[in-house]
Amino acid sequence: ELEEKYGTSISKGLSSARAAEILARDGPNSLTPPKATPEIVKFLKQMVGGFSILLWIGAAFSWISFGIQFAQGAESPFDNLYLGVVLALVVILTGIFAYYQEAKSTNIMASFSKMIPQQALVIRDAEKKELPADQLVVGDIVEIKGGDRIPADIRLIFTQGCKVDNSSLTGESEPQSRSCDFTHENPLETRNIAFYSTTCVEGTATGIVINTGDRTIIGRIASLASGVGNGKTPIAIEIEHFVYLVAGVAISIGVLFFIISVSMRYKILDSIIFLIGIIVANVPEGLLATVTVSLSLTAKRMAKKNCLVKNLEAVETLGSTSIICSDKTGTLTQNRMTVAHLWFDDQIYSADTSEDQTTQPFDQSSQTWTALSKIVTLCNRAEFRPGQENLPVMKRVVVGDASETALLKFAEVVLGDVMDIRARNKKVAEIPFNSTNKFQLSIHETDDRNDKRFLLVMKGAPERILERCSTIMINGKEEPLDSEKAEAFQTAYMELGGMGERVLGFCHLYLPENEFPDTYPFDTDSMNFPTSNLCFVGLLSMIDPPRSTVPDAVSKCRSAGIKVIMVTGDHPITAKAIAKSVGIISATSETVEDMAKRLNVPVERVDRRQATAAVVNGMELKDMSLQQLDEVLCNHSEIVFARTSPQQKLIIVEGCQRQGAVVAVTGDGVNDSPALKKADIGIAMGIAGSDAAKNAADMVLLDDNFASIVTGVEEGRLIFDNLKKTIAYTLTKNIAELCPFLIYIIASIPMPIGTITILFIDLGTDIIPSVALAYEKAESDIMNRRPRNKSKDRLVNEQLAVYSYLHIGIMQSVGAFVTYFTVYAEQGFLPTTLLGVRVNWESNAINDFEDSYGQEWTKYQRTYLQWTGYTAFFVILQVPYLTHGMLRCFQIRTSFLTPRFQYWFVAVPFAILIWVYDEVRKLFIRRYPGSWWDKNMYY
């Protein structure tokens, strides 16, 4: 049937000709990379984004006025040419900087293509051939052996002990066995399909290729991931908002003063030059670079705390996160099975599940425990890799599957040297676990020399084990297994199962010496020994336990107003149990089902709104409309999504985003990558994570620890606060740069500060104090605030703009003007002389310009004085920050024309004034929260 469907033959394979035909039709078996925007386009985008367009306009105006002046033969037209060049350079350099930052974080498809297997063993023309995997076509017969990467989606037709590792695709951590049987409708669940790019762990298999390239499951996920639009990060939106605001101010003031200067009968050309000056003064050229530098400093700090940030803007995103959708396995849990509970003597004992357990606290005095521990130790094929004696038990590498490993480690912790015990109880026969028997059995000699009996130990699915037992051990004595005891067993089994734990049953039987003497030949095929009427000893349950740091981290997230949602591919019961133990579902809250159970009413009649928690199954999610999903997300504060598919994860993330939330997603598998990409911030696991997940993510947790996210949130919030300070600082400067222009135009005084000097401040000296603000310490309540509301708590709000522009900015300008007048007065030009002097001052022809004392100045001497003024003005803009004790040496070095030392003192009263004013502002805000002052002065 299959042969027919795919037009092939199982024994002979396709003919080469036919294969070539199909290859021509379907294309090669590889993932198509996404259509990349050409690099040049990306680069040009950087060149016109943000303030760049304003600066380009400025540069264009400079060149136009140069052209006009040059044509008119004016004396020094080159000033404008240079200004234009400098402006263009500024734009190009900041553009290159931004482009470089962006280029670092765009290589998602790279890892998908890395996963493609190089060679595949194919049957074609009735011959086995090695072919490059991208030559595979639908219908090809492929042979796979342990260790191979699966070359395409394959329908298996012959298997032998084949297991595949699907972890990168579905997130299941254990290897899945594969057979030829069709077991499930869902292709992801069925046993007879092996998926492209997964790994065959052991065994061999032969199969028919059913999908190639982009049509494979992973191809679909890949296209899903790259198809997901990467929305703007919150900080990008904030900065855009800021750019609009500043650009609006710049343009309106520029145009206003253009009109004023034209109506004051300035020449149009001069007015244009004023316009350029106003634009340059208003635009914080260095700010975007400063933001990048601040972010990367924070990113560095976070990297030290095991959060590797790939996309710089993600640093802040984490701070504004309001919902975290966390994967379970590996993130919240330790990703290894551990014995959590034991049941013997009709009692449940808890075991220690922490990461660094060395002893087990439960009562070990019972005879039953002695028997149980013997079974646990002996009926186990797992072994430690040799040479790890010095490592703690939990850190040792084990050969064997997950549950056997758990049992081995458990036994090692409780009993000591397991390998020695095994050596003393020599194994004589063994039946390994298989899915039809559902048990594992071995027969041992005992270490008691007087006891010549053999010991048969067995473990397996509890109900199967119980079926084979006729007695049960209570307090070391065998008692008949009556219905009462069976009931007790059922209760315990249900209870452990209800905690989402994997339960195993253990039983044993001492074989009578007379029937089974020393030399008895045990044959595991014919089973010439009893496998029923055994003695039931106890149950052990295992779980992948939560990391010890997680509950604390979750509660911190809670107090920081972040909702933590668990999204997992695991079973609802396990998911819920883990959610409860880490606090995602808090102790007091109930799901609808819990309430129904408590009130003893059908689920439908429970008021859904009263349930704070919800566990949603992937199947239910499938049938939900978007409104229903929104309702779930809205009404329940504690949500667990279980059994979810990659698409569903995406839907959940989108649902959260529809609520206006900033969503962080953690994940490790390929299956998570679309959701990681879609999330406002995707967080991948560094150790367990697949490359695809790491590539799709904005951030990688190097230690796979959820608690690191909390650190990240704190850093993110801190950087937001600090960026606010940076911007307040920068905007303050803008006014002090702008005022000189306005007064220059209106009062016709010599130019207090030049355009190039402004650029020098913005791009040079301003950056370091701004960056220094990134080191500011966090407020004490930073982790007790709610996450900021995207639409309300803006980076730049009215108060911040008003405070920096109209309060501090004006104060600084006044201080700067005092200095300006001082410089001129001390050189001979009293303030009264300066007013209205502009035209003669700037005339090249007047070289005997008289000052207030009767001295005469050449044009160049005046210009030189003007530069001294620039320098003084420039220095004064830095002085207020000197009083804050910042960067003293730095500013001394940057004064290119050393001004007289005493000019530095002129602005000191103003520096003190600004400092006092700001402190008083903060004091009042602290003293009178909610007052008029608070509302108007807090930003």
Binding site: L806, H807, I810, M811, V814, F817, V818, F821, T822, A825, E826, Q827, G828, L830, P831, A845, N847, D848, D851, S852, Y853, G854, Q855, E856, W857, T858, K859, Y860, Q861, Y864, L865, T868, R900, V906, P909, F910, L913, W932, N936
Partner: protein
Amino acid sequence: MGSKTWRELAGDLKLFLWNREERTCMGRTATSWGLILLFYFVFYTCLAGMFAFCMYVMLLTLSPYTPTYRDRVSPPGVMIRPYLHGFTIAFNVSKRSTWQPYVDSMHRFLAAYDDKVQEEKNIECVAGRYFVQGGHEGEEKKACRFKRSLLQSCSGLGDPTFGYSRGQPCVLLKMNRIIGYRPGAGVPVSVDCKVQKGNESDLRSVDFYPGNGTFDLMYYPYYGKITHVNYTSPLVAMHFTDVKRNNLVPIQCSLKGEGIINDVNNDRFLGRILFTLSIGK
């Protein structure tokens, strides 16, 4: 969010300007506006007061007679007269209207140097040494006479056209005033002219007055316009008696003397001056 229609935007704007329900204009109620305006009034008044105070204190520190620093204004720059629009003196001998403005400019400038005026206001000083006047800083200082007649054939007394009518123009050169400056360090500063970047023979002869084209030491130092009220800058007249006609002749006249700098590239008026003579028939 999405984009809003213009109508909605207009509605929002109207609501922003005047919200009837909350009685707010531009997001603030009357009391709120009152408070904020009061705040800014007080704030800016205080700031203005502080500005005024600082300026007042700063002005108190200044001497009314001598500026605190004089390093940007020295060494002296140089200017010429006649000065109309630029540094090209171009005229046709035969056309009076082309040179009359220059002549008028010269007469206007030299009015302050009229012998009568000088005799009336200023004193005769001892030539050849600096005229240092001690005493209190605020005392009025005497100024030395610089009579127009010292310029001889360029004085405009004998030839009221300063030679322009004959194609032999006079150009006056003056050194910028600097308070307390003593040019030449004991040796009078002299003036020399030559053709700049051109045929040397275009400028065949120049006569300098007074003397050999020197600024006599007795006119220095200058004490500032408050105390040195009648000070008149000494001049050197350059009589270009033989300049190539119908040609643009670029001329550079520079000061020579101790402490004079005349070769700064950026400042073409520091210790020298460049101008062009263009004399037509």
